[in-house]
Chain length 160, copies 2
């Protein structure tokens, strides 16, 4: 059972960035009609001839209760997800997919994205509503950028 915690920059620090407006001071721009919060994700995709990919995702929920059966990581690049509908979603990461005690689960708000650092094990996108849309910033380019591990015994997620 993976308990779900709040997603904060401190709790998520071993795995990457929380993409939100909490950690940065805004700058007033556009003649006073906008504020911008910059540098909210450390995009790390250039290794081995990589380049930035921007993608749009549409995702559906897994059956409830959610079973964690497979983890993945990207050895060549960071991967950022940001929600487009202000709806809560779930982030599951671990230090080692074969070490049950290393799993962490986070409740992300609809105004929080995450940027998985390179090589960080994470579960594929977990959403709570149909047709949940996300914008993604990750890596395109040569090389094998996906590793997957299937768990012998699925783990379950704690209550929201």
């Amino acid at each position: 059972m993976i308990a779900l915690e709040s997603l904060t920059p401190v709790s998520f620090a071993p795995f990457g960035d929380v993409v939100d407006t909490g950690a940065t001071a805004p700058r007033e721009v556009n003649q006073g009609f906008a504020r911008r919060f910059d540098g909210v994700a450390n995009v790390d995709v250039l290794t081995q001839g990589g380049f930035v990919n921007v993608g749009l995702f549409t995702a559906n929920p897994r059956p409830n209760p959610i079973a964690i059966k497979l983890m993945e990581r990207h050895p060549l690049g960071s991967q950022m997800f940001y929600p487009l509908q202000d709806q809560q979603w779930i982030v599951v990461v671990c230090a080692d997919p074969r070490d049950t005690g290393s799993y962490r689960g986070f409740k992300a708000t609809g105004r929080q994205g995450v940027n998985y650092a390179r090589n960080v094990w994470h579960h594929p996108l977990l959403v709570l509503k149909n047709d949940s849309r996300f914008i993604v910033v990750d890596r395109e380019g040569p090389g094998q950028n996906l590793e997957e591990v299937s768990l012998e015994k699925p783990l379950t997620l704690g209550a929201l």
Copy 2:
């Protein structure tokens, strides 16, 4: 008077990319629980030691009717805006800020972003509701990446 047209990849092609799911075929991922549309923006930020910046914007509307008084461009990098609330917004670009006839205005849906190509003249973010949130992918790094031109005579936008 700048008439407002629909935003399509063809109409916007001289200025950059329309960031939406219309032009790309999706790929099924995440064990069938998601579809991804990749390569929706050509991120061009690496010149002269530049790197990718991801930012979050919060913008407010200008007084109505909107007066176009200033245009800007970024000689060192592309700049992408994608809306986070599924609300219509407005894009104004031109080939030459001093050539009134070169201005184009576009109605973007709340599921369309734009990625201004490097050096493309554009108006700062134009939104229709308070606290309109956007995610931005642009350039950070050394060098002067902003040029602005003030118009002697403001232009007005046509009806939505």
